[in-house]
Amino acid sequence: MKLIIAMIQPHKIEDVKKKLYEAEVFKMTVSTATGCGQQKGYSETYRGVITEVNLLKKTRLEIAVNDNFVKPTVDAIVAGAKTGSIGDGKIFVLPLEQCIRIRTGETGGEAIG
């Protein structure tokens, strides 16, 4: 099992969700974050002071999947989130040792979906 963490552009979330549904990934957890990376930020001009804002809003996805689902999931995220311009984001894949469904107590691969 793997835990996939992806940082994407906030306005691509709907597209990503659509692609994930098409790839039959229905479960996920979504939160917000701010990130800095290659994308240099925009210049904010609050009260005439021009400041480089380099922490940009990002949407953070966490998706736990069984091993055979890693590739489809990653592909779906890329398909939905890619625009080709800087700031598109990153996907991280972490090993996941255990997964428990609280409602039933099921564990492992069964619990994930």
């Binding site: 906030p10 306005h11 925009y42 210049s43 809003k57």
Partner: protein, 459 residues
């Protein structure tokens, strides 16, 4: 490549404004009012008693405050990422509108009449002058009128929210305050206007202000098209929830307060029926809230807050024309009907017409404005105001016919000009922001700032 034109336009606008100021100043100098001897107090202005002055001004202040109400309602009912933008639109349409209605609009509306269609004198309100009879009162009158003009203007921002270019909206603001609003205003509220002469009755502006705003909202929303994500691929509407319901509710309370200036103040002088008007206004608003809540509760099984809030506004808009001519009980009935109407209309616009109107401006101001104007011909009773009797009280169909004629003429005129205006804007300056901008929110790209810096906001 994109920036220069903006600057140029701005500079031109500034120059024109300054030129106007200069020109008018000169014009005023050319024919100066006999100035009072230094230190001498001009005698009481025969244009109004102290009660007239105070009543009209206090009413004007309350109506001014409706700008805050509209700003809060529209901000609350849209998304956080567009909040700064919608606030700026509300602020600027009033600011620009004030200047434009001073230098231009007022003259078209209240200047000397030409064929019942348009005024052509009194630009820059030269009739307001301490040396002229009634000249002091004219200032108060202008203030009261400008806040009405601004109300018509600001209604549109809600329907066009979350996707309209800031620049284009500013241009629209100029046009409505300079031309669109003053012309229909002339027809109906200038005693020499052709509709006024037909005895078309719109006491406080269900048509002059609200349905004008509503029709423009309709044209704007249609020309713009819906927000991204509003309609699914199957054409089914999706809810795009407002981000700050407390702000929206505050806005509605402020509007309700402001309406106590809007309707009772439309006597334009002190009059002893101001209490009556305040009562009909209040009862219709209350009834609108109750019936809108019940209607949506039955339809969608939940007492939806946004509909109850719209119900208040529906009741207020509907009673605006008949407020001085109907009994309190009739006002309750008008409010109840408006509350039902607004809910059905919102659903109809959203689901059937598939026009995306984020705050419901078309239904609240357009549909209920029309209904309210008709209500004069239906519910008027002779013991109030000007002896008019509506259909339901035995007055026959004549007045109803006149009301319908007025509604139709205004609709044709405004829809025509509205489509033309927005279409031209679309083809020249551009009416809608880019897709990315819309998705990221207008605040960052159009204004370079966020409304809620530091808050973690999902979308």
């Amino acid at each position: 490549m994109k920036k220069p034109p903006v600057k140029k336009i701005i500079l031109v606008v500034m120059l024109v404004l300054f030129a106007f100021c200069a020109a008018t100043a000169i014009a005023q100098d050319a024919a100066p009012a006999a100035p009072a001897a230094a230190g001498e107090k001009v005698p009481v202005d025969p244009g109004g008693t102290s009660a007239d002055f105070i009543w009209l001004l206090v009413s004007a202040f309350l109506v001014f405050f409706m700008q805050a109400g509209f700003a809060m309602v529209e901000t609350g009912f849209t998304r956080a990422k567009n909040a700064t933008n919608i606030l700026m639109k509300n602020l600027l349409d009033f600011s620009i509108g004030s200047l434009v209605f001073f230098f231009i609009g007022w003259g078209f509306m209240y200047g000397q009449d030409v064929l019942g269609v348009l005024g052509i004198t009194d630009f820059a309100v030269t009739s307001a002058d301490p040396g002229k009879a009634g000249g002091y009162y004219q200032y108060a009158t202008w203030l009261f009128q400008v806040v009405f003009a601004a109300t018509a203007a600001t209604i549109v921002s809600g329907a066009m929210a979350e996707r309209t270019k800031f620049k284009s909206y500013l241009i629209y603001s100029v046009v409505i305050s300079a031309i669109i609003y003053p012309v229909t205003g002339h027809w109906i509220w200038n005693p020499n206007g052709w509709l006024a002469k037909l005895n078309f009755l719109d006491f406080a502006g269900s048509t002059v202000v609200h349905s004008v705003g509503g029709w423009l909202a309709l044209t704007g929303a249609v020309v713009l098209g819906p927000r991204i994500g509003k309609y699914g691929p199957d054409g089914r509407p999706k809810a795009i929830a407002g981000h700050n319901i407390p702000l929206a509710a505050l806005g509605v309370f402020i509007l309700w307060l402001g309406w106590f200036g809007f309707n009772p103040g439309s006597t334009l002088k002190f009059a002893d029926n101001i209490g009556h008007i305040a009562v009909t206004t209040n009862l219709s608003a209350a009834a609108g809230a109750v019936s809108a809540l019940i209607t949506i509760w039955i339809i969608s099984k939940k007492p939806d807050a946004s509909m109850a809030l719209n119900g208040v506004l529906a009741g207020l808009v509907a009673v605006t024309a008949p407020c001085a001519n109907v009994s309190p009980v009739s006002a309750v009935v008008i409010g109840l009907l408006a509350g039902v109407l607004v809910v059905l209309s919102v659903l109809f616009v959203d689901r059937v017409l598939k026009i995306d109107d984020p705050v419901g401006a078309i239904s609240v101001h357009g549909v209920c404005g029309v209904f309210g104007t008709l209500a004069v011909g239906l519910f008027a009773e002779p013991q109030y105001n000007n002896g008019l009797t509506g259909l339901f009280f035995g007055g026959g169909f004549h007045q109803l016919g006149v009301q319908a004629l007025g509604i139709a003429s205004v609709a044709v005129y405004v829809l025509g000009l509205g489509f033309a205006l927005f279409f031209i804007l679309k083809k020249t300056v551009g009416l809608r922001v880019s897709k990315t901008e819309e998705l990221k929110g207008l605040d960052i790209d159009e204004h370079g700032m966020e409304a809620y810096s530091g808050f973690q906001i999902l979308d």
